[in-house]
Symmetry: none
Subunit: 201 residues, 4 copies
Amino acid sequence: MKPVAQKRRQRDQSQRQLLEATIAAIYKHGVHDATVVKIGEIAGLSTGNIHYHFGSKEEMFAAAMRLLMSGISDELVLELSKADSPLERARAVLRANLSDELFTHRNCFVWLQFWSETARSEELARLERINSQRFHRNLLDALSRLMPREHAERATQELVALVDGLWIRRAQSEGRITPEAARQIADHYLDRRLKTAPSIG
Amino acid sequence: MKPVAQKRRQRDQSQRQLLEATIAAIYKHGVHDATVVKIGEIAGLSTGNIHYHFGSKEEMFAAAMRLLMSGISDELVLELSKADSPLERARAVLRANLSDELFTHRNCFVWLQFWSETARSEELARLERINSQRFHRNLLDALSRLMPREHAERATQELVALVDGLWIRRAQSEGRITPEAARQIADHYLDRRLKTAPSIG
Amino acid sequence: MKPVAQKRRQRDQSQRQLLEATIAAIYKHGVHDATVVKIGEIAGLSTGNIHYHFGSKEEMFAAAMRLLMSGISDELVLELSKADSPLERARAVLRANLSDELFTHRNCFVWLQFWSETARSEELARLERINSQRFHRNLLDALSRLMPREHAERATQELVALVDGLWIRRAQSEGRITPEAARQIADHYLDRRLKTAPSIG
Amino acid sequence: MKPVAQKRRQRDQSQRQLLEATIAAIYKHGVHDATVVKIGEIAGLSTGNIHYHFGSKEEMFAAAMRLLMSGISDELVLELSKADSPLERARAVLRANLSDELFTHRNCFVWLQFWSETARSEELARLERINSQRFHRNLLDALSRLMPREHAERATQELVALVDGLWIRRAQSEGRITPEAARQIADHYLDRRLKTAPSIG
DNA sequence: AATGAATGAGAATTCATTCAT
DNA sequence: AATGAATGAATTCTCATTCAT
């Protein structure tokens, strides 16, 4: 008989597979058409098993959204770890959301699908708020050291909207915008913002 | 009164009611849950009627999206008619998309739902492209007279993304942002853009 | 105002048009898919009108079957009028059902469709029995003068089955059998029957 | 007992039940009114199951027709296995189609329903052709050894039509003809055919 | 853990029929 | 006589979920 640790590992792997498959299915078919059967096929598991692992489709979708969010979080932590000035930190926050790894057609598309599902699931709405607020908070923290509070708040709002808009654009179709171009837009925006805002102290 | 004319009016009214009901249902339940039965209830018409008038649910959704787009178009025409300088025209384009009438929670929410449906319906995707391109073109026309071509193109991209991001934000929940605040963000952005770009002539 | 006779003529024409359209629709789509709307389109009349004229779809189908039957009947009368011996009469009955005008793909196909509808409509079943019995009776009358009663009865049964089978064959697809070939089969069968049966008198 | 084997048996049994129920429903109501719900009720299974097992109603109908055809095929093989001369073989082919087990009101009625559905389903039409050709070929093989080729071909055509006509007759209503009578008709026809055709060799 | 057969509520769609004009 | 908008019951099909194995 297998030791407990091995069993757990196997279980975790199944669940991970299921979450990846969920995202893949949403990317392929859209949330609406990402059915339990299709997800199961991609994951190589039966529908019965999905309910064994996640209880319901909605819980699995929430877990998939969390997986996506943890990817964003990891990227953010990575970028922030390399930044050692407020300006660098602000740039790091933007870069994290527009990196080659994260700012993919797939990611942006799937995220847009979750955005729209927010209307049907309070849990997904909650997760969206958490993600949005984390982005907002990190950016505000950095900008607050570069310009007066009020300016920083406005600049944050604008940058958050700008990045969201870039995600929509990227989600729309493969070729509309590249990560490189998106980063440039955000960076230039930040530069102009800093030039025109009164500096601190 | 001619019976033919009366019948036509009756038909047009039913179709209009159905389209309004479609939008209302999407607003209330999300695209996914805006079923033919619910739409029929809101419109006060039977489900059979939907297929009599539009052939299929999908075609009715496309017609509803077109109705939304014609609202945006009307607003744009109205604003542009009042503008008589390139700068005014650029502002008019932005204001049209962020006006009190258009930049409502309802409109932005429903539009986000259509955005996500783009993945499932080629016709909706086509409509989205038309709308996006019209916005892009009008803004670029105006900005091209205020700054060198290349700058104008970048500025357009940025402003389009910014406005899309503001729509997402507005869609998310009633209170996150007001039309007034959104217009300020866009206007300030434009002002800074003009200050930092080399002027024409 | 139109005279009464003219009105009646107009009404009769509409009804005749509708019956022809019914048959055409059944030929084109099969009974199952010959909907009131499709029939109306072929006839150039609205669905409301169909019910004004026939009360219900089923009644219209029965009327269409009667029209088909009257065609067979006319053909039979015509052929019989030219026959002046028992043998000629027997041949006439067969020829009537296998004539170039009647034994068409269209006729046989539509008749097969009515045959199957017999299961759902007592009225159609009744009509089918009338038609079948008329065929049977006329053939038996003729054959009874050519061979002993018992032989005649058997021969009639056989010939009726043979002709029905030929109709099925013709209904199946355009090319399986020609009227000419069908008539030869029936005639040869009759000849052999007469040769091997004891003659009367 | 292996669970896998058990599941397969369970599945096969359900599918078989569904096919029997399809035939029973067609016999009871006609193809047109043999709805998924009614079939499910007869089979004692839910409607969802029909689509789980067969994908669509049409595919299930095709499978039911194949089941009917395999019954005919079995009967034919059985009869042929007992025949050891060309004449015996010809008789066997006829007897197979007119046996007490096969030539039932139920079978003939259901087959007539499938015949008429041939117009709506290319697959059913294909199956009908296969069945018809098998009958034709087997009969022709036997007759070719009893009379010259050309005679054999005509005799085959005639016998096929005769048997089809007998099926129609049997389908029409319970009492019109018995298997015994049908076999006599076919046998006598064959006898007369052999008498009047030039023999081989 | 895993399977997959079975369920049943709910989805879009079709269509004969009605009815106001 | 004729139209065609409106209805609503019925139909096929989908899909998350359950459950025996």
